[in-house]
């Protein structure tokens, strides 16, 4: 952006002064806590009165990567992220393509599809928890009638099955959001492109791979970033449905336990929890960079 020459000097100064409050607000709400967390992560420390701060350097980080609970929750988080984002993306793309077509009541269907996404996660998680109930749950009943489950199988109490059940809820909840983003991307593709392709005799598949996908690529990138970052931080669904039992504990759930349940622990876990927060931050940052590089997205 070339500013010089277009704006007067006084305008630039005005802009500077106007943006200062925002910068201060961001500094206080985002960078200060981040810096504080990073600082805390180098200590053995607890908020218990009289607890002596003890400098550990990177010891918390070293311990973290030897902590089986951390490694398990890291694996669970990656597993959750991979499958939920993959399924949401495929289903969302399919939904978007359908919603992009011309049909009666299109507006109504588009709005209706968004309902699962509009329900607060805490509410929908509790709702699904009831539907998974072994005695009265409608899903348990359906799976039993289909011969997939034995009667009385606790879906959320069975290792393996619980994680799939949680992923299913996330897919149900977030596919509409993915579809909406992709739909927005689809709508900027001019119809003339497809008309020209049809005249040239391109098949539907060829149109999809040569027109739709390339034009949609930046949208896909943004969608995947949004979803992956959200999925890596997943907390509420897991916390409400299983509290992290039977192999569903994710990094955020473990982090809550360290920072809230054990905040006054004489073992000084506050610094350890801070280290985990920093690691979560770094993992999310890393994924963002990978995505932006591989999809060639520019932030301007």
């Amino acid at each position: 952006m070339k500013v010089k020459g277009t704006y007067k000097r006084s305008d630039i100064w005005l802009a500077f002064w106007l943006i200062i409050p925002t910068l201060i607000a961001i500094g206080i709400t985002a960078f200060y806590p981040l810096g504080q967390t990073l600082y805390d992560s180098f200590f053995r420390w607890s908020l218990r009165p009289g607890f002596e701060r003890e400098f550990l350097g990177f010891q918390n980080y070293v311990n973290l990567f030897q902590d089986p609970r951390f490694l398990r929750s890291l694996w669970n988080t990656v597993y959750f992220t991979f499958f939920s984002v993959l399924i949401e993306f495929l289903l969302g793309l399919g939904t978007a393509l359908i919603l992009n077509a011309d049909f009666k009541l299109r507006g109504l269907v588009r709005a209706a599809v968004l309902i699962p996404w509009a329900i607060p996660t805490a509410v929908s998680s509790q709702m699904w928890k009831w539907m998974y109930n072994d005695q009265y749950g409608v899903i348990s009943l359906m799976l039993y009638n289909l011969g997939i489950l034995e009667e009385g199988t606790p879906i959320l109490g069975t290792p393996g099955m619980a994680m799939s059940a949680i992923i299913a809820v996330d897919v149900w909840k977030t596919t509409p959001f993915v579809a909406l983003l992709l739909l927005a991307g689809l709508q900027i593709i001019p119809n003339e492109l497809y008309e020209a392709a049809r005249i040239d005799g391109a098949s539907i598949w060829k149109q999809f791979t040569s027109i739709t996908l390339p034009v949609l690529r930046p949208t896909i990138g943004v969608t995947l970033i949004f979803r992956t970052l959200d999925a890596l931080r997943v907390f509420d669904i897991v916390y409400i449905m299983t509290q992290g039992a039977v192999g569903t504990e994710t990094l955020a759930v473990y982090n809550r336990s360290l920072l809230m349940d054990n905040i006054f622990s004489p073992r000084g876990l506050f610094g350890y929890g801070s280290a985990l927060s920093v690691v979560i931050f770094l993992i999310i940052g890393l994924f963002t960079i990978i995505y932006m590089r591989s999809l060639n997205i520019k932030l301007d």
Binding site: L47, R48, P49, G50, N133, D134, Q135, Y136, G152, T153, P154, L156, G157, T158, P159, T242, Q243, G244, A245, V246, S257, M260, D261, N262, I263, F264, S265, P266, R267
Partner: protein
Amino acid sequence: MKKVVVLFAILTMVLSVFSITITMTAGAVGRELEALTEQVEMFMEENPDITVNILPMPNSSTDRHDLYVTYLASGTPDPDVLQLDVIWPAEFAPFLVDLTDDYDYFGLDGFFPGTVASNTVDGRLVAVPWFTDAGILYYRKDLLEKYGYDVPKTWDELYTAAKDISEKEGIEGFVWQGARYEGLTCDVMEFVHSFGGEIMKDGEVVVDDPEYYDNNVAAITFMDKLIEEGVSPAGVTTYMEEEARRVFQNGDAVFMRNWPYAWPLVNAPESPVAGKADITVLPKGPAPDGRNSATLGGWNLGINANSSAAEVEASKKLIKFLVSKEQQVYKAVNAGQTPTMIEAYNDPRTIEANPFYADILDVFLNAEPRPISPIYSEISYEIQVAVHEVLTQQAEPEDALDNLAENLKSLVE
């Protein structure tokens, strides 16, 4: 006219010098909050110089814990009076006013000893018991009669009756709290204690102590057997209090372990099992070490150490008022919350509103606390994980207990 205004202004100023405002946190389960509001109004009438603000809290104990953590860690002087879960005093002790010298002021000699003990941290009294809780056994008296069973006295009798009746009736045998959360620790402690086992004693880890190990294994094996042989549904591994209550109240189980709060609900006119259910003490484990055991629950009142001296004085007055016999009876009658003062159980008003109290007074008298430790939540977590792995068929009882012993020792050392 002018004189009246001036006089009024002076009066207000004088009063405001002597009057004081304190804040109290409170739960809102059932009729709890309404009853407390009424009680606080009575208190303010008696003490015009004190104004009490009630701060309602979330129902979930975990959520309340998170909120308290925020208050206490930030060092704010509000709220002054804190309603504390029975497992928190040790953790929050450094933030609470020392009440040791006020033992007689609150008349704690007349309280259940277990409830006072659970508020004593390193010899320091940090909170006053307000209402108590203990695990009890709910059973279907109509079904026991129909199939000719006595009320079970031991776990084996319960097992036999539950298995037989549940098969014949096509319902579940015994439901309890098996999800991996604090409630599981409560249930585990009851099984372990009733089998003569012990997990922690005087701050020491005794899980693998030869004196207790075999009984511990037997207790956990029994819990596992309940599920494996279908006496308890596999789903108990996802049940908290309300899930268990729903099954029992719907008439879909013969026995249930739960807290007394479920009684008015189970017995409400619209309940399908109203009049068909009854309660008793939880069964004994096998002889010779077996005994009846109930885990101590309940809530206490502590005072924020950051409050000013005047606020602390006012808070003590409020607590003394709330735990007095008269008010404990009021709470038992109006909110169904179980008194901590023994005298309150002999009051005809209490007995009339809660006839079953008489039968289970012993349970409350002998309720056993969970380990008292500032790292309680970490200890409880390890117990939950170890037992839940057994219940979900991921580990054998012996291996789980060996692991538990090792993990607890590394925590405590």
